[in-house]
């Protein structure tokens, strides 16, 4: 494979195989064993937009595997501010590195970069487009909890319009035959073209404004942040955001093994009382960013992950 721009670049078999690799790499991600599979390789981190978890977890993943990282640094001080095109930036970094992880405010930027580059591009988010490496860590987290990906009932809640994490994730879950409940305010509904795509893939989708209605039968509740700046006035925001908050008391009737996920950062949508429940998985999910990205870096650089790594996997 060349890069990872959307989840369409991976078959279901490839997804499962990469998740297997990730599982075996856990002791390396936890620092229990050192495995320099990517020694001599350099990752170019091109984040044209702010990122904490994605950028740091790529960097950690590369370093845990013995590789090195070069960063674009602050866009305000790089040649981008002088008007350099993405094409030119990619030509330069392509020569410096073996693989590029990229986030860009413009949609389609990752595909554009892949067409301009010889090295693989890992899309770390392009506008409101895709975020497939997040999807891989989300799938890893779901598989850890449920032992499988197929046939689960998943609620995707909050900002489904602009939230790129739920765009990529909904595609992947549909391919594994999951039932999707799309719970969002009408202003922030999943874009029609994505719903059309999901339906074309035989999705079982329910769109609703009611988050709590199906919580008792769900296997996964995936929360996202509703951004204040999407609303014309603060009262409307407060009203809408209030309906998409989870409190520990909302979880009384939930299935024992139901998990709550969130791509983070959260603001008010998950009350801290939920952190102490058996359902909370968002911090493990954030850690899984490292191990999922380790597996992806190995796969895209054609480096095989050994079957037996040791270190308590």
């Amino acid at each position: 494979m060349s890069g990872l721009i959307t989840m369409d670049d991976l078959s279901n078999e490839e997804i499962l195989s990469i998740l297997d690799d990730a599982q075996r790499l856990l002791p390396v991600a936890e620092g229990k064993t050192y495995l320099p599979l990517l020694q001599g390789k350099i990752l170019g981190n091109l984040f044209f937009e702010p990122s904490t978890r994605t950028r740091m977890s790529f960097e950690t993943a590369m370093k845990r595997l013995g590789g090195d990282v070069v960063n674009l640094g602050d866009v305000k001080t790089s040649s981008v501010v002088k008007g350099e095109t993405l094409f030119d930036t990619i030509q330069m970094v392509d020569g410096y590195t073996d693989i590029i992880a990229m986030r860009h405010p413009r949609q389609g930027a990752a595909q554009y970069a892949q067409d301009a580059a010889r090295v693989p591009i890992l899309n770390g988010g392009d506008g409101a487009g895709h975020h497939p490496t997040q999807t891989m860590l989300d799938l890893f987290t779901i598989q850890q909890a449920h032992g499988r990906l197929d046939g689960l009932k998943v609620i995707l809640a909050g900002d489904l319009r602009y939230g790129r994490t739920v765009h990529s994730l909904s595609h992947a879950l549909t391919r594994f035959g999951c039932e999707l409940i799309l719970a969002s305010p009408s202003l922030l509904k999943m874009p029609a073209e994505i719903v059309a795509d999901l339906n074309a893939h035989g999705a079982n989708i329910t769109e609703t404004e009611d988050l709590l209605g199906s919580i008792e039968t769900a296997d996964v509740v995936y929360m996202t942040r509703i951004q204040k700046e999407r609303f014309a006035d603060e009262d409307e925001y407060a009203k809408v955001a209030g309906a998409y908050k989870l409190h520990a008391s909302n979880l009384d009737g939930a299935k024992e093994n139901m998990i709550i996920m969130h791509p983070l950062p959260r603001v008010d949508e998950i009350h801290p009382s939920v952190d102490q429940t058996r359902h909370a998985r968002y911090f493990e999910q954030a850690f899984n960013g490292v191990v999922a990205r380790m597996a992806l870096l190995c796969r895209l650089l054609d480096v095989e992950v050994p079957a037996d790594i040791g270190g308590g996997a």
Partner: protein, 158 residues
């Protein structure tokens, strides 16, 4: 008036291109998409809203002393997908062409999504719209994946 009568509304041309079966009212748009404008020096005749057996009404364009090529014609897929095109040499139809669409329209139209990477005019890679369906025409940007609004797209001719 008969089909032949339509053709006689303007004189026959010696050399050039005749574009027939343009949906009524779209002739100006066709000229625009072919880059034929006030700066073009070739004579152009146009009839609009004339009777057509097949279409009810239609437009016809005759461009003298210029033979349009297949790439230029394919630009018309958006506004006149069923246009018939004849290349005229010495008053005789020398070639007949129809609009052929491959899997992509390359460097003809710019993506309509305002936040697409290709909206930066300095980015040098080709503009690429993938054809998902021919009837009805459905296009998506190769880069951002957004479905294209055809009404808006005709304003995005490169």
């Amino acid at each position: 008036m008969s089909q032949e009568g339509n053709m006689r509304r303007v004189t026959a041309i010696r050399n050039g291109t005749v574009i027939d079966h343009i949906p009524a009212g779209h002739a100006m748009r066709v000229l625009e998409m072919l880059g034929i404008n006030r700066r073009s020096s070739v004579p152009v005749s146009m009839v609009m809203n004339v009777p057509s057996k097949k279409m009810g009404t239609k437009d016809i364009i005759k461009v003298e002393d210029r033979e349009l090529n297949q790439d230029e014609l394919n630009r018309l897929a958006l506004v006149a997908p069923d246009a018939h095109v004849a290349i005229i040499r010495a008053y005789v139809v020398a070639e007949k062409l129809t609009i052929e669409l491959g899997d992509e329209i390359v460097n003809v139209l710019r993506c309509t999504f305002s936040n697409c990477i290709t909206t930066n005019p300095r980015e040098p890679l080709a503009h690429r719209l993938k054809i998902l369906s021919r009837v009805p025409l459905e296009l998506r940007c190769h880069y951002c994946g957004r479905p294209q609004d055809l009404e808006e797209l005709v304003n995005n001719v490169l």
